[in-house]
């Protein structure tokens, strides 16, 4: 049983990280961004390509950190993938969403993001093929951490890095000018303009940060599961569930929602059976929304 809790936490951390990006874009641009799942996939594939390149450049013997399945090539690849996926977000905004924001309605943006999502997904199939892939073919031995609980060192790394990123984002939002401006724009874009905030610049930063977090979530999935073209899109429903569960626009809500959805999916396997794991997450979502319609951390306003 505890084993499923551990697995659920790892899945939940990945969902939570993806959900933070989704909720940031939602609160600042005010639309449900369906391309977020595909930014996760692109992030994972950027890492895949870069690991290949860097390992080839570094010689045959791939570097590894102690018990982890990866070394410097993967770390460098993730850092670069964060930048590339952030740039992809900027490109999407500049080429598509910026124009629609000026002339279209929210529903135009949502449908456009659906179309862009389809295009991004198929570009991956076109470039990499439909088959799943892995960052490392080595099999990692799970180590017992508690009686009856075994986790791989990679899973521990995923949980730790998630905690670090959430803390960093908290500091960004509360201690920096950009963070305060992002919170200001999320609440009242007109007032933000009046006090001198360049709203378009904040929007661009939001795409960069959202895309960067998506790339890390993609790398986590690649590390703990596998890389495939549908990976991000399949994660989209749990992402939206986590976002809504935590309260749309709330960063802490998104991570809490992610952990709850991850745990619910994982724990449903021994309790109900693996066929229903996605359905269980939605039952939890429904139950919580009935009690708290604005989500766990949502505003009552």
């Amino acid at each position: 049983m505890l084993q499923f809790v551990a697995d659920g936490l790892v899945l939940g951390a990945t969902i939570g990280l993806g959900a933070i990006g989704l909720t940031l874009v939602y609160s600042i641009l005010r639309f449900a961004n369906f391309t977020h799942g595909d930014l996760i996939s692109w992030g994972a594939y950027f890492v895949l390509s870069l690991v290949g390149l860097l390992t080839a450049a570094g010689g045959a013997a791939a570097h590894r950190f102690g018990v982890l399945s990866f070394g410097w090539p993967l770390v460098a690849a993730v850092v670069l993938a964060v930048a590339l996926t952030g740039a992809l977000g900027l490109l999407l905004d500049g080429a598509l969403f910026r124009h629609l924001r000026r002339h279209g309605t929210t529903i135009t943006l949502v449908i456009a993001s659906f179309g862009a999502s389809l295009a991004l997904r198929n570009m991956i199939v076109f470039l990499y093929g439909p088959r799943p892939d892995y960052y490392s073919r080595d099999i990692q031995i799970a180590v017992p951490v508690l009686p009856g609980v075994r986790v791989t060192p990679d899973q521990v790394f995923v949980l730790g890095l998630t905690a670090v990123l959430v803390a960093a984002l908290h500091l960004l939002l509360t201690r920096t000018t950009l963070g305060r401006a992002m919170r200001g724009v999320a609440e009242n874009p007109t007032l933000a303009r009046v006090v001198g905030v360049d709203v378009e610049a904040v929007v661009r930063w939001t795409w960069v940060i959202g895309g960067g977090l998506a790339a890390v979530a993609g790398a986590f999935l690649g590390l703990t599961v596998q890389v495939r073209p549908q990976m991000g899109f399949d994660l989209l429903l749990p992402l939206f569930a986590a976002t809504i569960l935590g309260g749309i626009g709330s960063v802490y809500g998104a991570i809490a929602g992610g952990l709850i959805i991850g745990l619910a999916e994982s724990l449903s396997v021994p309790l109900i059976g693996s066929e229903y794991r996605q359905a269980v997450a939605f039952l939890v979502l429904l139950a919580i929304l009935l009690v708290r319609p604005t989500g766990l951390f949502g505003d009552r306003a």
Binding site: T177, R180, A181, R183, G184, E187, N188, T190, L191, A192, R193, V194, V195, G196, V197, D198, V199, D299, A301
Partner: protein
């Protein structure tokens, strides 16, 4: 220096060629019936409403370039020395009092802390509540915070849209007394008001706006003494001379 917002002459149906002057160091109030275009006028000045034609200058510098697509965007107006306090939703409720002030002064860099301290000195109540989320302040305190936030950037012209809206008479006098303190500190104020008596009491000069243009402009004391003010609001042509 002569702070001036003038020659504003759009083809917009709401504003039909309104012109006003705001001399430096004064409080100027725009009065008028609902729908006269008072709020539209100040929103046009700060760049929230597109301007079709006309001009606005602040201290001799053109701050509203026409045609509309060449306008100075709203977020750059603050750097032109122009601060605006909207009538409603004029504070960030999810940010603390202190964060509201920090956000307003973000481009001041090193000067910001000094400016925030100076504004706290003018609004000691806010200094005591700096850690409180602005959404938990009362209506009067929010108006104070909105005004304080606008003052962070040391504006040459402070523009307020109905600062007394929704406040009790006692709070109105508190807010207006604070505005005279602000004027004494050297800030020029332009405001739109419905609360005619209280506003004229602290103003130096006032305009009555009807149907998108200024109908009467006179020193506030003179306007307060006039008996045909109600008729003016209803659209009658002024009996006396206009300024």
């Amino acid at each position: 220096m002569r702070d001036l917002v003038a020659g504003y002459e759009p083809g917009l149906p709401i504003l039909r060629g309104a012109s006003i002057d705001v001399p430096a160091g004064t409080i100027v109030t725009i009065l008028g019936p609902n729908g006269a275009g008072k709020s539209t006028l100040i929103k046009a000045i700060v760049g929230l409403v597109p301007v079709d034609s006309g001009s606005a200058t602040l201290g001799g510098r053109d701050i509203r370039r026409v045609p509309a697509h060449r306008m100075v965007p709203a977020h750059r107006m603050v750097r032109h020395g122009l601060a605006y306090v909207p009538q409603t939703e004029n504070v960030f409720t999810r940010l603390t009092v202190h964060e509201n002030l920090e956000l307003a002064g973000f481009f001041l860099k090193r000067r910001r802390r000094r400016r925030i301290d100076a504004v706290y000195a003018l609004f000691p109540d806010l200094a005591r509540q700096r850690r409180l989320a602005a959404g938990r302040l009362s209506g009067g305190q929010r108006q104070m915070l909105a005004t304080a936030r606008a003052l962070i950037v040391e504006p040459r012209l402070l523009i307020l849209d109905e600062p007394s809206a929704g406040l009790s008479p006692k709070l109105v006098s508190t807010v207006f007394a604070k505005l005279t303190e602000v004027r004494a500190a050297g800030v020029t104020i332009l405001m739109v008001e419905q609360n005619v008596k209280a506003a004229l009491a602290i103003s130096d000069y006032a305009y009555v706006m009807v149907e998108g243009r200024e109908r009467v402009g006179a020193p506030a004391a003179e306007l307060a003494a006039r008996t045909d003010l109600g008729d003016l609001f209803l659209g009658a042509m002024p009996a006396g001379g206009t300024a």
